[in-house]
Symmetry: C2
Subunit: 482 residues, 2 copies
């Protein structure tokens, strides 16, 4: 409908006291980063063999700047549109803009779309009939069919585009989830829909469904096993699990973004290992591809972390969690290292398995399971599920709850007659608080982030050092994707 908006952007602080403009220092820093990145980009253009990786770094810097400024500026717009939530773990409950992950997703998508010409630039020049000279007049039949295209890596372009489509899909569906507050049972399958473009293009474009068999099993199964349709089921499972697992390790300021940044950094570290090998290594292209998607993600995520870290001034929304998880899915499936991704998601996998009693309704699941804020101490404590004398868990569940309590995997409070009064909620954050005692919100987020990093580094070590025990060769040293 034709409508001219009469809204005006407020430049004064919000009623909740949050800034809506960049401070002088912030503006100067962002301008400096912008200038540096633009200078790098211009230099990349000038070089005879432009490096896509350097262009990607510069675009990621620009994505950081854009996300940082937009998150600050759009706060009042989001609040006005009613896209907001209250921070439950603070003495003063302020309404904060929600779903800022959507802003990051849009900036990120623009960055990876604008980046498209860089990795393919060299091939364009080689593919043009005049060796890059655009003044050469093409005969009519070439205009009809386009330029000589045989040397152009369309296969990789299609992979790259399918990754963008999957990421856009998850952004669209994630925003829908944030707006409509979809039920848990339904939202669990949102990533499955977003994975369809990835799997469809994998099917028509790549279609490799064989996996390498561990040495010990090769006498029985052969060196390679074609999983066929099962391989698509496996990829769909990874695609559903990764975004959801990040979405359920959530609930305190900064934790969603911090864990995603750690995973992205570890995946980038893994990618860099492959870049150090001599170039025509078969896995190099896959890992460059992965970096092209991870670097801009790190750019927008760092900008978001600045605003979302304790005390948060914005919320990230389900959109961010889904989006982050799907970035990892996209790079690991198209780069053929989805098992490496699984190694980096160990805390998320533990959190999911640990959560199952409540997710599947064996133990009552309250609306929110985030740690309980104690306003007197300003610390977080484990949140609990209440049990009344009339409403006690059934015998087998009671037995398991007591066992978990004895193993210190759950805080169980019993009354004088050995009846359940309360049990801590089944999330990693609550368990950590059971172990470490009450913690301030930022301390808890930091400790979980360090845990994520330590387990991830150990996982990468295992993957590269111990893989030789079960596979003939680690693909890092010898060039085969395990």
């Amino acid at each position: 409908m034709t409508s001219t908006s009469n809204s005006t952007r407020s430049s004064s602080p919000l009623s909740n006291g949050l800034p809506t403009t960049l401070s002088r220092n912030e503006a100067l820093s962002l301008a400096t980063v912008t200038a540096a990145c633009v200078a790098v980009l211009v230099n990349v253009f000038r070089e005879p063999e432009p490096s896509p990786l350097i262009a990607s770094l510069a675009l990621s810097g620009l994505a950081f700047v854009a996300a940082f400024a937009l998150i600050r500026w759009l706060g009042p717009t989001f609040l006005r549109a009613g896209i907001k939530g209250a921070d439950l773990s603070k003495r003063v409950r302020r309404e904060l803009p929600e779903c800022m992950g959507g802003v990051c997703a849009v900036v990120y998508l623009l960055a990876v779309i604008v980046f498209i010409p860089f990795p393919f630039y060299k091939d364009i020049v080689a593919a043009t009939s005049g060796g890059g000279n655009k003044d050469v007049v093409l005969p009519v039949e070439h205009v009809q069919r386009g330029r000589f295209l045989h040397r152009f890596p369309h296969s990789k372009l299609a992979s790259y585009l399918s990754a963008i489509i999957s990421l856009q899909s998850i952004a669209l569906l994630g925003i829908g989830d944030d707006l409509f507050d979809i039920r848990w049972r339904h939202k669990f399958f949102i990533p499955a829909f977003a994975a369809i473009p990835l799997l469809v293009v994998y099917f028509v474009d790549f279609g490799v469904t064989s996996v390498v068999i561990p040495i010990q099993l090769q006498p029985y199964l052969g060196e390679l096993l074609d999983l066929g349709a099962l391989y698509y089921v496996y990829m769909a499972a990874v695609a559903i699990f990764s975004p959801n697992s990040i979405n359920i390790l959530a609930g305190i300021n900064g934790i969603e973004v911090a864990q995603s940044i750690v995973i992205a950094l570890l995946l980038s570290l893994n990618d860099c290992l492959y870049l150090l090998t001599p170039y025509p290594h078969p896995a190099t292209d896959s890992h460059l591809f992965s970096l092209y998607f991870l670097l801009p993600f790190l750019g927008v995520s760092l900008a978001l972390l600045y605003h979302n870290w304790y005390p948060a001034r914005v919320f990230v929304g389900d959109t961010y969690c889904y989006f982050a998880g799907m970035v990892f899915v996209v790079v690991s499936i198209l780069g053929h290292f989805s098992k490496t991704l699984v190694l980096l998601l160990v805390p998320q996998i533990f959190n999911f398995l640990y959560s199952t009693p409540q997710l599947f309704g064996l133990v009552p699941c309250p609306r929110h399971r985030l740690p309980r804020f104690n306003a007197r101490t300003n610390l977080l404590e484990p949140s609990v599920t209440q049990w009344t004398p009339d409403h006690q868990p059934k015998a087998p569940i009671a037995w398991v709850l007591r066992l978990l309590g004895r193993l210190r995997l759950l805080r169980v409070t019993l009354d004088d007659e050995d009846r359940f009064v309360e049990t801590s909620n089944f999330t990693l954050l609550n368990l950590w608080l059971v172990w470490r005692g009450p913690l301030r919100e930022d301390r808890l987020a930091l400790e979980i982030t360090v845990l994520q990093a330590a387990l991830g580094l150990f996982g990468l070590f295992v993957r590269h050092r111990l893989a030789l025990l079960v596979f003939k060769a680690d693909n890092w040293s010898l060039g085969f994707n395990v």
Copy 2:
């Protein structure tokens, strides 16, 4: 954040009296269409040479069913989330769900993504080493690089995917516009952002920037002229104009969807002309490509029209207008018939040019310019801009307004002292009401739709019959894109 929604879907009619479930007849009809489409799809799978066009028709039918049901079911969810608007041109002003074009866009995108394997299916079978036999074990080096890919039309796949990315981008940005009510000056450029993926992939993938020169100019410019960067400016201009032009010919029930359906039907008719020629015609593939995008669009649009036609039960939102315009841009740019699209947008072009005095601020532009509803007669009358004796148009503008009034291109009301009292607003809908007198809302929408169809058919006739006067050959008969 972890959150389990406790909202329940209401199955009773809304407080505004609108149904939220399918009637028995509707459910039966939709089930029949679904069964027929699924049967067709299964048959397509069984055939030795499956026809993508028939698969596209069946998927479009399924898209119609899904959009129809979802628009009905999601009404209460949209109202609860505050995505709603009041219908100004009714005696009883009801709040209706807004932005239902977003639902159509998501269904449409899923349909065109699921469709991907069909046009490429034949090539997959041919490209697999075993001639389609998936049990053939591939040697290790083929697993590394994928299957033999030389016969696979990756070039077309990349075009198809870039089209999807552009359409997803416009859906994302359109939803943002509907949520945040972006200012007119800013929203005008939303389609430009969404066109970036299309232009970038055109650049790396296709890169044809030459146009055929009319015979009369060939002595001066040659047979072909390479516009180079200018060609991208031209494409960007079309991409900005088409979505915006549909967005400003709006404001009464059904007009946005009806005009889009007419344009899509005329583009499909034009495509079908090319399918009647013997197959290895160079333009056939482009026009099949166009049909693959237009048929599902017709599917979701017809479902939306049912709910949006007078008296509307849902609104379409800016999302739909942008999305429709971008579908036309995508098929016409990638199919190389953007000039044909311009011929079909004549009413939109007229509406835009006619609107410029108000869009550019020469004449005051009220918040809404939709026709004025007369509650006494239940008819629409031209809406007006008011002038006071103190606030009169400047001399040159007054001269133009008087001239337009004399040409019957504007309704001008003067007082006894020849001062302006009111002038009708500068939109095609108001002008039509100036000419045809007060009309009921559905009558006005119908007449404008018929006008659109008549002008479009005439445009296609001109394009195919008269093109021979200025070009050596019409590409319909001789095979060259004009």
